[in-house]
Structures are given as structure tokens and as C-alpha cells.
């Protein structure tokens, strides 16, 4: 590292430690962006709240390795629809990075309030804005539970693929059952759709173009 020392590889002058450090940091930025196939670092306009983030990461298998040659994505819902009841909310997810990949596993995590007074019957629809004002919806999953807390509903990945838009809309439809019939009085809040326990999607994706996996593995 002395002033007269020559670089052992190229014979040029060895850079001073500060210059070498600056070079290493620049190299690290390039290496990380290249490894993530990004041209620049992402500008996070809507970071998820820390509490929701911490809770979601705890939910995923602790210490699980990312799927070989693939990625795991957690996407938090933003909720639209009547605030009166979460049971007819539309959950909106922004999945631009997952769009160019092949989705092969999807689970929707929902938090049922502890005050659940009976049996909750839940249906999840995919809502697609059609040509008309109404749009169309496709049933993805049904679920029945009497337990409050977190529930992971597996969704058919085929039902989530296909649209050109990077925005995915899921419509919740839930009601209370008494025996097998719908209960007369429907409590206001059954699902937590906005707080730290907001719903989130857990996806597993891999590169979609054939052979990409081999190239990356190589």
C-alpha cells in the first residue's frame, strides 16, 4: 500500500486506501443492481409500515431459503370499497416486478378479529375491470372458520396470472353463519383490512423465459 508500491495485478499505481474504498463501494452498487436485474435502486414511495412488515416476515417460514432460482414476494394490500364493512372490500396489490415472472404459488393472509361471534364464511374473487363499468369477477377460493387470528388461504396461481395490468384486485365476500344459514345480524368488523394486520399476499415466482433458470444457475 506504500506510495511506490505497484498494483500486483496490473502494475499500475496502487490506489490510496480511500480511493480503493470508494472504488469498492461503487463496485458493490453495480454488483447488487446487476444481481437483482435492476438498472437503478428502487425509489420506495409507499413503504409498508414497520409493524406490518415485521409481522409478515415472522409469518413466512423463519430461515427459509428463497426458492432455488426463484423469488418470494410479500405484497401488502391497499383497501378500497365501503369502509362500513371489510366484508365487501376490494384488496388492491401492485405487482409490477412479479408481472414478468412465472407465478407458481400464492397465499392470501387475512387476520380475523378476536371478537368473531360465530362461523365466518369467506369467499375470495378476482375482480377484473371489464369493458363496462361493472367489470367481472372470478371465484378463487372459499374458506370457513370459527377461529380468530391469521388465516392463509391458498389461491390458484392460474387464477392470478394472465392480466397485462400490474395491479391485482381481489374482492372479499364474507358473512356469518348460524348453522348453515346466514345469520340475521352481521357485525360490522370481522376482518382487519387496514391496520398493522392488513392482508398480504405471499407469492413464489421464477423467471418466466425458458432457460433463464439455467443461465442464472450457471
Amino acid at each position: 500500500q506504500g506510495a511506490g508500491a505497484a498494483c500486483p495485478s496490473c502494475g499500475g499505481p496502487t490506489p490510496a486506501p480511500q480511493a480503493e474504498r470508494a472504488l469498492v463501494l461503487e463496485l458493490a452498487k453495480q454488483q447488487i443492481l446487476e444481481g437483482l436485474h435492476l438498472t437503478s435502486r428502487p425509489r420506495i414511495t409507499h413503504p409498508p409500515p414497520q409493524a406490518a412488515l415485521a409481522r409478515a416476515l415472522r409469518r413466512l417460514q423463519p430461515g427459509s431459503v428463497a426458492p432455488a432460482n426463484g423469488e418470494e414476494v410479500i405484497s401488502f394490500a391497499t383497501t378500497t370499497g365501503p369502509s362500513t364493512s371489510a366484508c365487501s372490500s376490494v384488496l388492491t396489490f401492485h405487482l409490477s416486478t412479479a408481472q414478468s415472472h412465472h407465478l407458481y404459488h400464492a397465499r392470501l393472509w387475512l387476520h380475523v378479529f378476536p371478537t368473531l361471534p360465530g362461523t365466518l364464511f369467506l369467499r375470495i374473487f378476482r375482480w377484473s375491470p371489464g369493458s363496462g363499468h361493472q367489470g367481472s369477477r372470478t371465484l378463487l377460493a372459499e374458506h370457513q372458520t370459527t377461529a380468530p387470528g391469521w388465516h392463509a388461504l391458498t389461491l390458484p396461481s392460474s387464477g392470478l396470472r394472465g392480466e397485462e395490468s400490474p395491479v391485482l384486485k381481489l374482492q372479499l365476500n364474507c358473512r356469518l353463519l348460524e348453522g348453515n344459514t346466514t345469520s340475521a345480524q352481521q357485525p360490522r368488523q370481522l376482518l382487519d383490512t387496514a391496520g398493522d394486520q392488513r392482508p398480504f399476499l405471499e407469492l413464489k415466482i421464477r423467471p418466466s423465459e425458458p432457460g433463464a433458470g439455467r443461465a442464472r444457475r450457471r
Partner: protein, 114 residues
């Protein structure tokens, strides 16, 4: 592979730990806090050409001696990574989604002469 000491002229692995805080990237890279950015540097004289660093066996030692005694070295040899491992990253993408991925061949673990 020897880790480079200042006076090591021969092929070795130069270790650098990069903290993402130092890059100003801790707002979008959630885990880990940093990573080892190592690279290979140093000379590869003829008798070291083709030697895989610490993995040298008796065969490659003899092979190196034969080469060292050969007055016409066959072209130049370079100090290159001979073993690398992936880096598991957890980061926020531009939509605020959390992405967990393994970036292959990110960390150089050993160097050797090509």
C-alpha cells in the same frame, strides 16, 4: 487461497466488507446489513498457472514444477475466482413489496490462477 497481505504479490483474495448503510441503501435492502465484496488480485507466474489455490493437490504441485522448468511458458495466467457462493437478499421493490431472492455467485470465496 491466502487472504491478501499488503506485501503479497502473488494471486490472493482481497476482502472488503460493504455495509449497506455506507451505500445509503438500508431504506430498501432489509436483510442482510452488508456483505463481503471480495475480489482476486495478484500475479500468476508460469509455475502457478492452472493452480487452483488452496485446493492444490500433489498432482498439481508436480504439474506446476514441470511448468516452472519449462523455459517457454504457455501464455499469461490470471488471478480469478475459483469458488463463489450466492447472497440471500430481502429488499423492497418500487411498489413497496418485500422480495426475497438468492443472487448467485455474489461472494468470492477462493481465488486461483487460470
Amino acid at each position: 487461497t491466502p487472504t491478501c497481505e499488503p506485501e503479497t504479490p502473488l494471486c490472493c483474495r482481497r476482502d472488503h466488507y460493504v455495509d449497506f448503510q455506507e451505500l445509503g441503501w438500508r431504506d430498501w435492502i432489509l436483510q442482510p446489513e452488508g456483505y463481503q465484496l471480495n475480489y482476486c488480485s495478484g500475479q500468476c507466474p508460469p509455475h502457478l498457472a492452472g493452480s487452483p489455490g488452496i485446493a492444490a493437490s500433489f498432482h498439481s504441485a508436480v504439474f506446476s514444477l514441470l511448468k516452472a522448468n519449462n523455459p517457454w511458458p504457455l501464455g499469461t495466467s490470471c488471478c480469478v475466482p475459483t469458488a463463489r457462493r450466492p447472497l440471500s437478499l430481502l429488499y423492497l421493490d418500487r411498489d413497496g413489496n418485500v422480495v426475497k431472492t438468492d443472487v448467485p455467485d455474489m461472494v468470492v470465496e477462493a481465488c486461483g490462477c487460470s
